[in-house]
């Protein structure tokens, strides 16, 4: 029986440690205990995808993940996707295409696409749209998000 536990995990490649109640969600752990507020707190019940992070490389909704369930695992958040201090190809394409209005959904979309293009660099339009079904954007109407995603994919396949 453990109401409070000491968690060890690897966040964006760095070891992290926190003493948390067992009822802590991964989202609370990231935002409140580790100060990583890039991962957004949207619906809080698994509907919207704003809180998407990667756990051992796979997307997970941090708002409905018990932090204790990630003990010993690798967690990657939006703070870790930049490469050598430069925005990743996906981040740069979102910027270039203005694929955000309020921007609240953006970290979630970037994490979903980071996983998709790692797993399936050749993802076709159907796979792309299917994957983006995991995330909701209330502002953009998705057209610019799709344009940014296609552009990022092309750049990742043929780096300049």
């Amino acid at each position: 029986m453990s109401n409070e536990l000491v968690l060890h995990l690897v966040v964006n490649g760095e070891p992290a440690r926190a003493l948390v109640p067992a009822s802590r969600t991964l989202l609370e752990l990231l935002r409140e205990d580790l100060g990583l507020t890039g991962t957004k707190h949207g619906c809080d019940v698994g509907d919207c995808g704003a809180c998407t992070v990667l756990v051992n490389g796979l997307p997970r909704l941090a708002c409905i993940t018990v932090a204790a369930d990630c003990a010993g695992e690798h967690v990657d958040t939006i703070e870790g996707v930049a490469v050598g201090g430069q925005p990743s190809a996906i981040q740069a394409a979102f910027d270039h295409h203005v694929a955000a209005q309020c921007g609240y959904c953006t970290p979630g979309f970037v994490m979903t696409l980071t996983h998709l293009f790692t797993e399936e660099p050749e993802a076709d339009e159907a796979s792309l749209r299917h994957a983006l079904g995991s995330n909701i954007c209330r502002c953009t109407g998705y057209v610019k998000i799709l344009a940014a995603a296609r552009d990022a994919q092309a750049r990742m396949r043929n780096p300049a």
Partner: protein
Amino acid sequence: MLPLPRFSWEAPDRLPDLVRLAAEPGARLVAGGTDLLPSMKHRIFRPGTLVSTRRVPELRTLRVGADHSLSLGAALSLRELARHAEVRTHFPSLALALGSVATPTIQGMATLGGNLMLDTRCMYYNQPSGWRAALGGCLKCEGTLCHVAPRGAGCYAAHSADTVPVLMLLGATAVFATPNGELPIAVGELYPEDGREGPRCPPGAVLVRVEVPAPQRAVAFRKLRQRAAIDYGLLLTAVAPTPEGWEAVISAVAPQPIRVAAPTREALADAVHKAVQPLPTHQQASTWRKRMLRVEVARALASLPA
């Protein structure tokens, strides 16, 4: 903020420990948490201890028989199963049903066991606690009245697990572990008539695996939903030929999936329309869902070879 109520956490890595911990008072099993944790945030459930199924090897094993029969560990994710070559090749309707749950991200978290054990759903129940309190709760949670059928004595919350209609037509069996040994239950026998009762297994029983016999016939599956992602089904439809004719399993309409038989392929849609009455447990009009029954059966049949 919707904080989780306080609980303690157990993540055993041996099946006997899982069975023992799950049988303790106040314990509740959790797998992907994609059904349970939102409900806990909404204060529908307040278990004292969450016991994770995810580290137990027996629940993470997938076995394929020489005849292509399957034994699917209950803690395997929907994503792993939907992508498995044997599932895709020999059980395409199951792959389709697995891939229609929620979203791709949720499919990576959610498990098959959690899907079979999914709580029944209703628009008066799956709501934040303040929303429910404004209506005085309902029979399924905190209240004394059903808002769907105020004159009825039962709860009609809808069975909503996408994989179940197909698993029923494939003749699948759910195998539970209890402190008294293993207990196999046909998937079609699992669901009770009243939406307040959970699946018909002893309290705390651990679903270990789902056994799917060798493929015998083509099964077709359709899910009617508002958006192509995220949404639960408004109608779940599975159809297949039988030695005597045709049968359908319809879900998302009542606490139990409903099995309907007809002598011919042509007669199936009418038989379903006659036997099934969707109730106003969803925001979408039940009159429209009733009309769509015929359409969905016809679409499902059209996706099978003539």
